[in-house]
Amino acid sequence: MTDPSTGVTGTDAAAYVTAPEHQESGPGKPRSLGADAWRDLRRRPMFLVAGGIVVLLVVIAIFPSWFTSADPNHKDLDFFRQPPSGDAWFGYDGQGRDVYARVIYGTRWTLLVGIAASVLTVLLGGILGILAGFFGRWVDALMSRIGEIFFGLPFVLGAIVILNLVRNAEIRGALPIVFAVVASIAVLQWPVAMRIMRSAAITAKQQDYVKAARALGASSSRIIFKHMLPNCLAPVLVYGTIALGAFISAEATLSFLGIGLRDPAVSWGVMMSDSKTYLRVAPHMLLFPAGFLAVTVLAFVMLGDAIREALDPKLR
């Protein structure tokens, strides 16, 4: 398992930072980047399919009972690892639980981890990155070194240590466990977001409108929030969307190692981990959650890709 997000660091942040006339998106300015991108996106089948899947997943996560009437935690050993049938489309697991119901209810935890980890990473990395890019000099040097320290720590290794630390502290209950997993992902991944934000900020700083604002005597915070932030957001947001998929996959790996989520927060990763013992006799226990996981990750990566291409004038 490699670092779940190194692949997206190839994103060329500077490409998104464009001249000021493209920035302010709003009615009456049809040439704005955002509107352009949106018009472009709506014509892309990839975006529509991915977006549709994501919307469906979110609905499943919020209203799981619309999709199944079975209790995901009801165990009945009479159905012990029975294969898929008309009664249970996805079969039963090693405890005689309905796999379909568990997959449906697991959507919530899986998405929660992915979204929360993604948001936290982007927030943390984004704030530090824009500060580093704007102030430069020693701030930049310090942030970059700190970033390298965390980046030098291999992801799986770091996550195992951190989660071991947390796990031994006897955390109980679903939300604290989720938070521990989310925090460990964010702590190890923020340097990626920081680098993207930093290079976007450095490019933005060179732009005339920032120089103009500074010449007019605008304060640092005003320049950062009013002028630079809107211009630098696009690349980190793209990163965040793609990373969301990668983080969901990372959560599955951590759960597989026995240090991710656990009861009562049952994610697809936990289900896949549970299937380990039964792989050869009940592959359906692995295939269905893995299938859902793959489609979900796929949807987010495709969504991110589509947005990136729409936002990047060079690729359009």
Partner: protein, 308 residues
């Protein structure tokens, strides 16, 4: 050039210290006493626990422990495990295996990934492009352990066309399948990266110039296009060697490979800070030096880049 290298090397020092201290601190902070539970289901004699705690300096505060560890490390002493084995020997045995695995993985991802990337990048949209796109997306979407288990069970247990695990010698041949599993995710990234890079460079001015000059197509692609598109791909492959060495915990576990991934995983569970930190020392050095090397390679590949 020399000054640049020196400055970079000096910059490595705080990062090196920071990362090793971070991991040392994290392992130290894991609650629990590594010795109390060491005697099976019988409680360990308190004298045993006390003597071991003393021997491994676990009574000191974490900074002193770290300084003692680093002091010994500078003299080449990686310390001993709780079983009184030399950690340098453990790492010395495991690291070559992991390195071989990482090299196999990188080779596979480079060959397959770059080929797929070049093909799709040059041809543009079409059947091949879509095929590669879909298959790379699937590799990204399916976690490594699923790919590993499915390959192991289908090829190893059901079809019996290969041995499901790797022997302790871990020969190159045995590592091909695990290397493929380990490199599959990066392979997908490499092919996408190559494709994007080539697609961008195809539109570059120098390509038009070269075409206008009437150079043969093979030369344009071989000399100008590939060379200029190589930088991001090489960067990625280089950093990946370090990542793959450490990131092989899951793959090593599935295929029973005696590499540093397994070593470090057991080290964390047994709270053997010295093993974990020792491995991380090695990994961080590899990671930092490879990064430096790649930066220097830029100048070789792209003459526009100069370090002074």
């Amino acid at each position: 050039m020399g000054r640049y290298v020196l400055r970079r090397l000096l910059q490595l020092i705080p990062v090196f210290i920071g990362t090793t201290f971070l991991i040392f601190f994290l392992v130290w902070a894991v609650p629990g006493d590594p010795f109390t539970g060491m005697c099976g289901e019988r409680p360990c004699p308190p004298q045993f626990v006390a003597a071991m705690t003393d021997k491994y300096n676990l009574n000191d505060n974490v900074v002193v422990q770290y300084l003692k560890y680093m002091g010994a490390l500078l003299t080449g002493d990686f310390g001993q495990t709780y079983a009184e084995q030399e950690i340098s020997e453990l790492i010395g045995n495991a690291a070559p295996v992991s390195l071989r695995l990482a090299v196999v993985a990188v080779a596979i991802e480079a060959v397959i990934g770059v080929t797929a990337g070049i093909l799709t990048g040059l041809r543009g949209r079409g059947f091949v492009d879509n095929l590669v796109l879909v298959s790379t997306l699937f590799l990204i979407a399916i976690p490594t352990f699923v790919i590993g288990f499915v390959i192991q069970i289908v090829l190893g247990f059901e079809l019996e066309i290969l041995t499901p695990t790797v022997s302790s010698e871990a020969t190159w041949g045995e590592l091909i399948i695990p290397g493929f599993v380990l490199g599959s995710l990066s392979m997908a990234y490499v092919s996408r990266l190559t494709r994007t890079s080539i697609a961008e460079n195809l539109r570059a001015d120098y390509m038009r110039t070269a075409l206008a000059k009437g150079q043969p197509k093979r030369r344009i692609v071989g000399v100008h296009l590939l060379r200029n598109s190589a930088i991001p791909v090489i960067t990625f492959l280089g950093t990946d060697i370090g990542n793959l060495m450490a990131g092989a915990i899951v793959t090593e576990g599935i295929f029973g490979i005696h590499g540093i991934g397994r070593l470090v995983y057991d080290g964390i569970l047994e709270k053997q800070g010295a093993i974990v930190t020792g491995v991380v020392v090695l990994l961080v050095l590899v990671f930092l030096l490879v990064n430096l090397f790649i930066d220097l390679m830029y100048a070789v590949i792209d003459p526009r880049i100069r370090y002074d």
